[in-house]
Subunit: 398 residues, 2 copies
């Protein structure tokens, strides 16, 4: 019997929902939305004054959850402070997770979300992993749509401009025993944002980091938990003190490349014998964030790159391979991928006592593929090209 019990533990994370099935009474229901509007709408800031995540729209969405009642009625109300008991478990035990997604204005003046289903799926996985309540993804997308509709005049216009959307889920149980939260709050706040790099791309310098470890097998590095972020700031400061903008996170004695800063990372190589090129990123083995942009890059590369020229691989690769292939002239490009910057070109990597140079186009701040990938994604995000159902209309400005 014990053998069976332990066998089941192999699927522990997939099977975690059953802990909630007895408790989840009222489902999240967008039709029960209550809207309390601001008395006076604010005016949009000029585009050049938008700083990532520091200006917010007029309204926010909050939904309380209680183990005995389930999800309460969703409320859209004026943006304002949360009032929480100081014993709330979000302050003590890291019961918190978030998502990052963006809404864009299309040429025909509609507002669309980019692949919201992916974010909702990941948010539910994050919630299940730390015993916070899961929810119906479609209902939350509907509610986010209503929130954007409310403040649609604040969605900025222009290439590189968008509305950054921050769904967040926190545990609000107000006792100090360490256990499953019996109260939680899901809230969404929105921030009009500009391009990550104000004047086109700006390639970054990375420090390959092996003294600090971002994630571990059997840990939570593939989930978008608050727990994964604060511990990465000190190594980033250390890298910055040596002139590098971000850490290139390595793992294990093999020094596998995993992620960069808070993004996934891609490297492109060209085999000097066969001439064949390869785009590579780390596999989703539980230590890698399941990036929506990562998935979009892989999908678009597989669809658009000539398979006679390119191989697209999710595989383990190490800083040693990168250094060796750079020395042979086989390293052709590298870039980070994430919702905030979409793609972020890399120009140099500090590794122990050497610097690995990543080629850029002459006189430019990125390689050819990086540029191409960025434009494929932007064209879909801004509605200039269509891609199956990656864009979902949530508001209409006409």
């Amino acid at each position: 019997m014990l053998r069976n019990q332990f066998f089941r533990s192999q699927t522990v994370f997939a099977g975690s929902k059953r802990f909630y099935s007895v408790r989840k009474l009222a489902e999240l229901d967008a039709s029960k939305l209550i809207v309390k509007q601001v008395s006076e709408k604010s005016s949009p800031k000029p585009n050049d004054q938008l700083v990532f995540g520091s200006t917010f729209t007029d309204h926010m969405l909050t939904i309380e959850w209680d183990a005995k009642k389930g999800w309460a009625n969703p409320v859209i109300k004026p943006y304002g402070n949360l009032s929480l008991d100081p014993a709330s478990c979000v302050f003590h035990y890291g019961f918190e997770l978030f998502e990052g997604m963006k809404a864009y204005r299309t040429p025909d003046n509609k507002i669309t979300l980019f692949r919201p289903d992916m974010n909702m799926k990941r948010m539910n996985k994050s919630a299940a992993r730390i015993c916070l309540p899961t929810f119906n993804s479609d209902e939350l997308v509907k509610l986010i749509g209503k929130l954007i509709e409310q403040d649609k005049h604040l969605v900025p216009q222009g290439q590189g401009y968008s509305l950054y959307i921050r769904p967040t889920l926190i545990g609000t149980t107000d006792t100090l025993g360490v256990g499953v939260p019996d109260k939680a709050m899901l809230f969404v706040i929105n921030s009009p944002v500009g391009p990550y790099y104000k004047t086109g791309f700006k390639a970054v310098r990375l420090e390959a980091t092996d003294y600090a470890t971002r994630a571990w097998p059997g840990g939570v590095g593939d989930k978008k938990l608050g727990a994964n972020y604060a511990p990465c700031i000190l190594p980033q400061l250390q890298a910055a003190s040596r002139g590098f903008q971000q850490n290139l996170w390595l793992f294990g004695p093999e020094k596998y490349i995993t992620e960069v800063g808070t993004m996934n990372v891609f490297f492109a190589f060209k085999n000097s014998k066969t001439g064949k090129k390869e785009l590579v990123t780390a596999p989703l083995d539980g230590t890698i964030l399941e990036g929506v942009t990562r998935d979009s890059v892989l999908t678009l590369a597989r669809e658009n790159l000539n398979p006679n020229e390119w191989e697209i691989n999710e595989r383990y690769y190490s800083i040693h391979e990168v250094a060796e292939r750079a020395a042979k002239g086989e390293l052709i490009e590298a870039f980070g991928s994430g919702t905030a910057a979409v793609v972020s070109p890399i120009k140099e990597i500090g590794w122990k006592d050497s610097l690995i140079n990543v080629p850029l186009l002459p006189g430019e701040q990125s390689g050819a593929l990086t540029k191409q990938v960025a434009s494929w994604i932007a064209d879909i995000q801004y509605g200039r090209t269509k891609h199956s159902n990656w864009s979902q209309v949530v508001a209409d400005l006409n």
Copy 2:
């Protein structure tokens, strides 16, 4: 030059304070305390109604910090909700850490803190690791003393009863960029608590866990960060579903024993050939919480146990060693150690398809050493015996 730069990174955590030296303007200063009292003091609850961390005293301590100004004047005010911007980095990126300590009533009606210097030292280490502000430990102990003084009538009386003290530090920067917090709040809330086990000891059953990993080298498992707690709840639920109260956290291919639940853990063996006994716990290698109770157990065992009979070791040991020695009859005791339960005896460990039995005294819920250790510590905590400067008087009820 780069070689030197990387060499310095070996001491990254020790040297992290320099990032603050330019910013830390006003120091934490207990003499600047402002006290706002409740209009009516509450009455103590009967001892049998005290549930760990669910009742709080009348007042709380809050101290704001700002990168431009340093520490603001400390404030003692009525216990009440915190009002925070929903973009505050504590909700998104895990900028939070805490301590757990206790105050006790002595036979001569004084209230003492148990080894507060150890908690303050660890709290500062936790803060430095996630780029939250550090502070003068003595000043915070003084302020905690003032807070206890304010509510001293609520410190419960009797063996096993105490005031649980929860200093907490959170980042309050209200923008979504991931970076060093420029605003923070330190707060302290106090909860009158009863004995962890209402009727003497109750030995627990553990599940040895290798599918989930609590901490890893280059991570933050030795710090008291919120990040270390939420990820451990799901494995605990899984263990509970199989009849085990806590996880015995294993690490690596060797299956080293690290901690139990949210406590440190000790095992006692008796060599069947030599008759010599050994008390063993995992070494502080960066993955083990630097427990104050752990340190107290080690110190008292080294002082009180006969070295001809006992060896006290901080060393690596695996579940395989425990299983093998249990089979040989060499496993004599095991217990967890932490502030909440002080010591927590263990009676059984589930490991794959076997159960490891841990001996208890006939008809009792603990072994002889566990009992002895618990009484050594309790005698010091309740002021019945003295130990150098482990007890610090903070209030007088006479």
